[in-house]
């Protein structure tokens, strides 16, 4: 589904990704771990199409097509979802309005009619109940005055409504209390499907207790230096990132 090879990217004068390769297939959950500054968020932003990052080399194919040719909104409509590490507050834009606009943009791309208002509300309420979100959030400004945990739940709500083929969750677990973490994990697990894939970008192993990954990759200085199964995450937790750096330079 997603084929990244030798990806190099920079922002401003700083090179961040130094030839990263990653292959993600349908039905798989990949965890990408690594210390601060290793390039985890940059990878997420580049796949989503943030033009603050310049791709200097390499290719990214999504469902066989060149992803780098597409605008951010085209990537979204093709089924890529980015859950932001820091979701943006947009005062004055109603949360329900954005959800509906997002769902309809995707549907229009798929040649479907706009979602029926009743159907939309029913679906939104269902997903919010799953995530333990109060329905009043629908009528508030997007992320406006939301706590850290509420913002992350809101990202997962958008994901749940959009049912993307590929969800990239950028440190969605950071700053969450245990209840919020469980709710977010439940949202991710509910999305698991033989035709969908998830990339969890995370700093800690904690989230992986609730969402079991098929693969774990360790990122260091803009490259994947180690890949393995979920036991790699536990090993990392035990030995720390220094161990990976040493292993990489050895």
């Amino acid at each position: 589904m997603l084929e990244i090879s030798n990806l190099k990217a920079r922002t401003g004068d700083t090179d961040i990704l130094h030839g990263l390769s990653l292959s993600v297939n349908e039905g798989e959950v990949h965890a990408i771990m690594g210390p601060n500054g290793s390039g985890k968020s940059t990878l997420a932003q580049v796949v989503a199409g943030n033009d603050a990052y310049e791709v200097t080399d390499g290719t990214v194919l999504f469902k066989g097509n060149n992803l780098l040719d597409l605008e951010p909104e085209e990537r979204a409509r093709e089924g890529i979802f980015l859950g932001f590490q820091y979701p943006v507050e947009i005062p004055g834009v109603n949360n329900a309005y954005l959800l509906k606009a997002a769902v309809n943009a995707r549907r229009a791309h798929q040649g479907l009619e706009e979602i029926d208002a009743f159907e939309f509300l029913k679906l939104a309420r269902e997903k919010m109940a799953m995530l333990g979100m109060d329905q009043k959030f629908l009528n508030r400004g997007v992320n406006e005055g939301f706590s850290g945990g509420e913002k992350k739940r809101n990202e997962i709500l958008q994901m749940a409504m959009l049912e993307p083929s590929l969800a990239i969750l950028d440190e969605t677990d950071s700053g969450l209390d245990i209840d919020a973490l469980k709710a977010v994990a439940e949202g991710v697990n509910a999305l698991r499907h033989p035709e969908r894939a998830v990339i969890l970008v995370t700093h800690y192993q904690r989230m992986l207790d609730y969402v079991e990954p098929d693969f774990v990759h360790v990122l260091s200085e803009g490259q994947i230096v180690r890949s393995g199964d979920k036991s790699l995450a536990l090993e990392l937790e035990e030995k720390g990132y220094e161990w990976v750096r040493e292993a990489a330079s050895a």
Binding site: E71, A76, V88, A101, L162
Partner: protein
């Protein structure tokens, strides 16, 4: 730069034509004052950014062709359309003339509507106010008796037209709310026609002890027409005004809002929104005088500029000596959608009392890139994303409309205007 002046003789003879109508003494006094001072120029601190040369030129040509409001047909269809979209007791003015047929505010016995006369305080320290008194055709005074509370808004509709020749309309209205009364006012400016038009409206409001006024001004004139407008408000003890001014049209629009806090416990909330495009020039000057405390004033004006438009926001708050317990807040936020648009934003606080709380904030910026990207990752194309963010910016002011049932109409007109100007690139 030479200062264009109105020919005194032409002005005198136009005023002479009006002899016997309206308040004679005030008219003469206003004429004399105006002849001495003339139109404001860029030499006046308050008129640094707004050039009235074109307004003077229109007035001059209007005076030359024998000013007669009646030569234009009233745009009845447009007026009826506005009236059907807003439930109000209407006073309709066309080119300065009160249209009795289209006005229905007289039927409401809670509101006393009468022709203005020399007993009304008409002459104030302002040349444009003088001009309105000197040349007005149908000055009106509106009064609410003590403790009368009128739910249905009073609609002041200025619907002007200039198709054949340059037109000028002058209007003067005094509103008095007696103690404990409450009213709602909608001041609506519209105009049409390809010929030049200049409208000058002066409204004086006196809000009695414990009285309450909710006020919305909407200006959506033809993009070729000019307007100067002033609202002077006097607030007495524990009285209250909530005001929203929206400017969408006009080639040149200048609004002055002056609030005089003369009674303890009074409060004033006034907000504004202006959308400028092409070569529009929209100038909002506000001034609040805290003469006594405790009292509170808050204002938030927001503006969107595209094309080569130029807007001005000048918010002055003066806390006079002894006005302890005054609380004055002002904010002005601007969104520049094009490189060539311009905003001149100036907050001014003058504080001569000790126990006061004053703050101001002004921002000028473009649409938030992070928010744009966020919306695009949710599938919105850049055009829609910009539209959504721009609308969010304006919604923050519209939702402060003190007349809630107008919000939908205001939103629709703002939306219409924003779609006409596009995203500005």
């Amino acid at each position: 730069m030479s200062v264009v002046e109105l020919s005194p003789d032409a002005l005198k003879s136009a005023v002479a034509e009006l002899a016997g109508t309206g308040p004679t003494e005030s008219r003469q006094l206003a004429l004399q004052q105006f002849l001495q001072r003339g139109f404001p120029t860029f030499h006046d601190e308050d008129w640094k950014y707004t050039d009235l040369t074109n307004v003077i030129d229109i007035s001059e040509r209007w005076l030359a062709h024998a000013p007669d409001a009646a030569i234009e047909d009233v745009d009845e269809t447009a007026i009826r359309e506005i009236q059907s979209s807003i439930d109000a007791s209407w006073l309709v003015f066309s080119n300065g003339r009160l249209n009795q047929d289209l006005s229905d505010a007289f039927g409401d016995d809670a509101i006393v509507v009468a022709p203005i006369n020399d007993d009304d305080e008409l002459v104030v320290e302002d040349p444009l106010a003088d001009l309105s008194v000197a040349l007005m055709l149908d000055g009106i005074s509106i009064r609410l008796d003590e403790s009368k509370r009128v739910e249905k808004p009073i609609g002041l509709l200025f619907a002007d037209r200039a198709t054949l020749a340059p037109q000028v309309s002058q209007a003067r209205i005094n509103i008095r709310l007696d103690a404990g009364s409450a009213a709602r006012v909608i001041e609506y400016h519209a105009s049409s026609g390809d010929a030049d038009h200049y409208s000058n409206v002066h409204i004086d409001v006196d809000i009695g002890d414990g009285a309450n006024l909710d006020y919305v001004r909407l200006q959506n004139r033809d993009r070729g027409h000019c307007q100067t407008q002033r609202l002077n408000v006097r607030l007495n003890e524990v009285s209250k005004i909530r005001h929203l001014g929206v400017d969408l049209g006009g080639a040149l629009a200048r609004n002055d809002l002056k609030i005089d806090i003369a009674g303890a416990g009074a409060s004033a909330e006034f907000n504004g929104l202006y959308v400028g495009a092409d070569k529009q020039h929209i100038d909002n000057h506000t001034r609040v005088d805290h003469r006594i405390g405790p009292a509170k004033s808050t204002q938030e004006y927001r503006g969107i500029m595209s094309g080569r438009s130029r807007c001005v926001w000048n918010g002055k708050a003066i806390v006079h000596a002894g006005a302890d317990g005054s609380d004055a807040e002002q904010a002005n936020h601007n969104l520049l959608l094009s490189e060539h648009s311009e905003i001149n934003a100036k907050p001014e606080l003058e504080i001569y009392a000790d126990e006061v709380k004053c703050c101001h904030g002004t921002t000028v910026g473009q649409l938030d890139e992070a928010a744009l990207f966020y919306l695009r990752t949710r599938g919105l194309d850049p055009r829609d994303a910009k539209r959504v963010l721009t609308r969010a910016f304006t919604t923050r002011v519209i939702e402060k409309s003190p007349i809630p049932e107008l919000r939908e109409l205001l939103s629709a007109q703002v939306e219409q205007r924003l779609s006409e100007i596009g995203s500005g690139d």
